[in-house]
Every structure is written in C-alpha cells, then in structure tokens.
Amino acid sequence: MRLHFTAEQEAFRAEVRAWMARHVPKEPLITLECQWGFQQHVAWEKTLASGNWGMVTWPKTYGGRALDLIQWLIFEEEYFAAGGPNRANQNGIFLLGPTIMEFGSDEQKARFLPPMAAGEVIWAQAWSEPGAGSDMAAIRSTAIRDGDHYVINGQKTWSSRAAFADWGFGIFRTDPDSSRHKGLSFVLFDLNTPGITRRPIRQLHGETGFAELFFDDVRVPVENCLAGEGQGWNVAMATAGFERGLMLRSPGRFQATAKRLVDLYRQHQDAASPAAREAVVSAWMRAQAYCYNTYMVAAKIMAGGKIGAEASLNKIFWSELDRDMHRTAMQLLGAYAELKKFDDGSVNQWLEGYIFAHSGPIYAGSNEVQRNITAERLLGLPRVGAG
C-alpha cells in the first residue's frame, strides 16, 4: 500500500492540467440535451481528439493513449478539476468501445473504433423497451435473419443521446421463439437507416436528450452483429459491467461537485441550517470515500482481478451521493433554487444538476435492482420470483 503518486504520475498530471487549462471552454457549455448544446459538446469531443485526449484508456492502435487505470483516474481528476464538460461520447468511450474491443471481430474494430475515437460518430444506446426496463430480459424487439441482413421490428425507449446521435447499439431477439436471456443478439445500426423513426422524449428539464426509437422492417447487415447470434445477453451483461463498474462515473466528478458545494456553503452560511452544514461536510467525506474505493478497485483490476457484483455497491453509492449533494445545494440556495438563470444571467447549474441527479438512481439498472443484486450475489440471500 503506497498512497502517493510517483514523479512520473505527477508529471503526467501536470501535462493534463496544462492542456486542460488551455482548452476547456471558459464558459460552461449549454446542456447537451438540446440540438445546439449537443453540437457544442460534439465540437468539444473533436477538440479532445485533436489533443489525443478523447479515449485515453484505449489502445494506441484505436486512437487511444493506452493509459493504465491510475493514469486514467489522474486524467479524470484534472478533467473535472478544470471544469471539463460532460462527454457526448460517453456511450462510445466507456460502453461500446470496450465491448467491441472484447467481443468484436478485427473488421468490426477497424470499422467502428477509429471514428468513435475521433468524435466523428456519436453513439446512442438502445436497451430498454416499454415492457423491459429494470427487467431487461423481457425484450421483445426482433431482428430476424433474411439473407445477409437482419430485419428489425419493435420499439426501444429511454435511448440516451438518440435524439441527436449517429449510430445506435442494443440487443434484439434474433430467435423469435426464444424467451428471457436466450435468443438475443447485440446489433449495431445506423440511426439514419430507412424504417427507423426517432421520437425525442421531452425530459424533466424540458429538453430532449433521449428518444424513443421505432423500428419498422429496418434492414441491418449481419456483419453488424457483435460476438455472434444468440450472444446478446452475455455481451450486454459485460457492457453493463463496464458501465456500472469503474468507468461510468469517475470520482473526480463528485469531488468537484463537493468542492463547489463547499464554496456555495460559504456564500450562504449565514442562512444555512446546522443540518445543511453537516450535509456539506458529509458530501466531501462521501466523495473521498468513493475516490478511495475506486483507487482500490483500480489496483485490484491492475493486479488481474475483476469486478463483479461489487459494481452494484458503487452505483448505489455515487448515484445517491450525487442526488444528496444537489439537494443540499438547493436547500442552501433557498428562494434562488427555483431560478433557471440567476440575476447575472448565469445558468443555475445546481438546478440542472439536481434534475439530472434524479436519473442516477434509475438508469443503468435502478437502485432497487442494484440492492437485490447486492443482497443476492454478494450477501447470498435467496432469490425469489426472478427468472
């Protein structure tokens, strides 16, 4: 156990810090959940790619820097400390990219990874369906083989980034007679393929970041299937593992929020309750605990270990921390909390953040499901009722 950075790691930190200081936009970008904000964020992805900071953990062959996990954490710390924008390319970097690297053919890697790394193709995810939310094995959308194509029919929903993205990925039932986890396949598709209708869903904040997708005899070449027909569930579980595990939410994001919360407290301390003060201090402690835990998981993975159901503990912890921090900020802001913009014209980022924080305990597997996974797989309590 050695809890300080090497000279080499500190030098890398300085390099990231210097680049971010020069390139992170001075004014916060507008939300990526609207057309113009999305374009701003895609432009930022291209800026990142120009400095080769887009996909830092990826192998160099695919446009990455082959950073180890500690370097990745340092990168993220400096990214969030510099106020770096949210990543339009999140789905590609952390979900689909690693999945293609693990399960894709050489042709698929060559075809999909470089444009993803360059920020040229932005990916949307298409998991949930109206009848398959937390219970993803209830998927009904079909992809039926017809010669060298699949013909996709059905509906996906809560498809994040889908209102504006270029391509999508999801699981579909390739064996119409199958049920539950069997007979599913992982398919990639161009969102502009004839037969796909996107219907943006207006979200809680009024903008349209995610969308419903309707598939009406959509023809997708069979070479867009990942890891072979019928492997969809396994691939999706691996993807969800990347997501819930280490990389969906790096600690820097929450440490940065906790710091901003301390600053906000200082501005409002005369009107703050003791409970709000303790919530601010607790925010720092929890963000730090999440950071230490992440470094421990990183060390475990670097020593050849894997993350399994512990990922559920992580997801519960950060999503509820995020909501609690933003709630505390709203309480500190008092009558100002409801304002979308303050007197000086600046956007009320706490309000936007509070609204967004409501999605954390729900997406990527609701926290109720995560608590079931924790109880059943980590603690060994009996499963009942689940198929």
């Binding site: 809890l3 605990a289 924790t374 109880a375 603690l379």
Partner: protein, 310 residues
Amino acid sequence: MDFHFSEDSLLLASSVRDYLTDTHGVEVLRRLDADGAQDDAIWQGLVDMGLTALLIPEADGGLGRSLPEAALIAVECGRACVAEPLVDVAFVSVPYLLAKGDGASLGAYATGAVRAPLAHRINPYAIGTSGIAMQSVDPLRTLHAPTADTSDDPHLLNLGALMAGAQLVGVAEAMLHQAVEYAKVRQQFGQPIGAFQAIKHQLANCAVAIEFARPVLWRAASALADGLASAPVHVSHAKLAAGDAAILTAETAHQVHGAMGYTYEVDLHFWMKRAWAVQGYWGSRAFHYNRVEYAILGGSHPIGADASFA
C-alpha cells in the same frame, strides 16, 4: 500509487482470522461473560502469535509490520469480538511509544507482560484493571477510571481513534454476516425472510456503508504511518464512517433478528454492545465530525478533484 494490501499482508490477516475463528468463537464469549472477561490463556495465545510485537521493528525482535496491517488485524479483533485489550495495547500504545522513541518500556509490551494500554484524556474511562471498575454495556469490556497519568497527546488519540474505527468495521461485518445467516433460515409466510426485498434492501444498505468505510480506514492508517499533517482529518473521517456503518448495521441486524434479537440468547448482542461501546471511545462522533468540519469548511485541508490524496 498502489491502493491495495499485498498478498503477504492479507495472508497475515487471514491467519489471525482463522486463529480467532478456532479459538474465540461465541461459546468463548459466553464463558467470558459468565466467568469474567480477562483470560490469561487467551492473552497468551495472542502473544504467542506475535501480535503484541507486530509493530515492533524486526531488529528489536518484533514482526516489523506496518500500521495499515495492524488496522487490518484490528478489524479481525472486532469481527471476533475479542475481549482482551490487544488492539489498545499493541496497535495504539506500542506505535505511540515507538513514535516517541520511548524504547525502554517497549520490551515489556512486546512480550505481553504489559496488558494495560496507555490512557488518554479523551476517554473518561480506560480499558484496564487498575482503578475503580466501571460497568460497560459491553459485558466483555473491563472498564476502569484511570489512576495513572493520562496523556493528552493528539498522536495517541489519532492512533486510538484509527484502531477503534478498524474494530468497528470488523464488528459491523460480523453483525451483517449474522443477520444474513439468520435471514436465510428464519421462515415466515412460507419463505425465508431474506427473500423479502424489505429485508434485502436494508442489508444491502449495510453492505454499502461497510464497503465505503473500509477504504477510508486504510487511507487514514496510511496517512498516519506516513506522518502526513492531514492525518487527523483522515482518522476522524475513518472513525465517523466506521462508527456510522457499525451503528446502522447493529440496528438493521437487530431488526432482521426480530424478537430474537431482543434476547440475551442470540449471539448478536455481544457485537451490538461492542459497537455501542466503541462508537464513542477515542472521541465522540461530534468530536471527530468537528475536526473534519473545521478542516473542510475552514479551508485548511485542500479539497476537489485534484486533491484526492491531500
């Protein structure tokens, strides 16, 4: 940066765990409860394992282990609800004397001849056998009003609070395990109660609290071992996280045990009472909270995404 214990450290901890599982089971706790908590044979067993000399340098005949490793073993002492004052003697008093360069008295600690830990003013009652005996809710704690000099050295306090936190994590893990085992076998409405989500989710909350207390403890142990100026903040953070996890788990485990948890018959009560006793030992929740608050809101401790290991 390498945030994990070596195989060797984990092996050491698991050998202590195995030893305590074999020799310090609940039947021993019941015997100590009936006959008096001090037991020379148990103490000698811990001495024979080398645990009293764990932190003493190899050159001086000790095992030369580190403070984080001692914390790992303190967790095991909490898990086994050890009654002997091993943690306060070997993992608090000994490293304090080592840091002070007080070599003369260390020999008696290493051999297990001294069984009374150093007293600190933050604890109105100390673990030990001299002075006026006080009765703790924890039947296995021998508590006395101190007669000897009490220290007010913050380093002793930080060591004590760190190791109290480590024991609380072990206590919490033991209670969670007992609650899970009970929920698997207790049947109601035709199924084990552990199949109900209302039970699962409460126990999952305990697992989350423990999971995120543990790394804070290692961070604090490491900061104290490295002599960082920020170590007191990390120690207080660790004591708070461990104490909160232990109290949450005690209350939850009790609820899961239903009426059985309210009896003296069920094992759980030994650990619950240890949690109640240790949560306010080596500094109350308010004391440690205030130390963190002062550093964070007062601005003396660097915070933010680029200050992870400040």
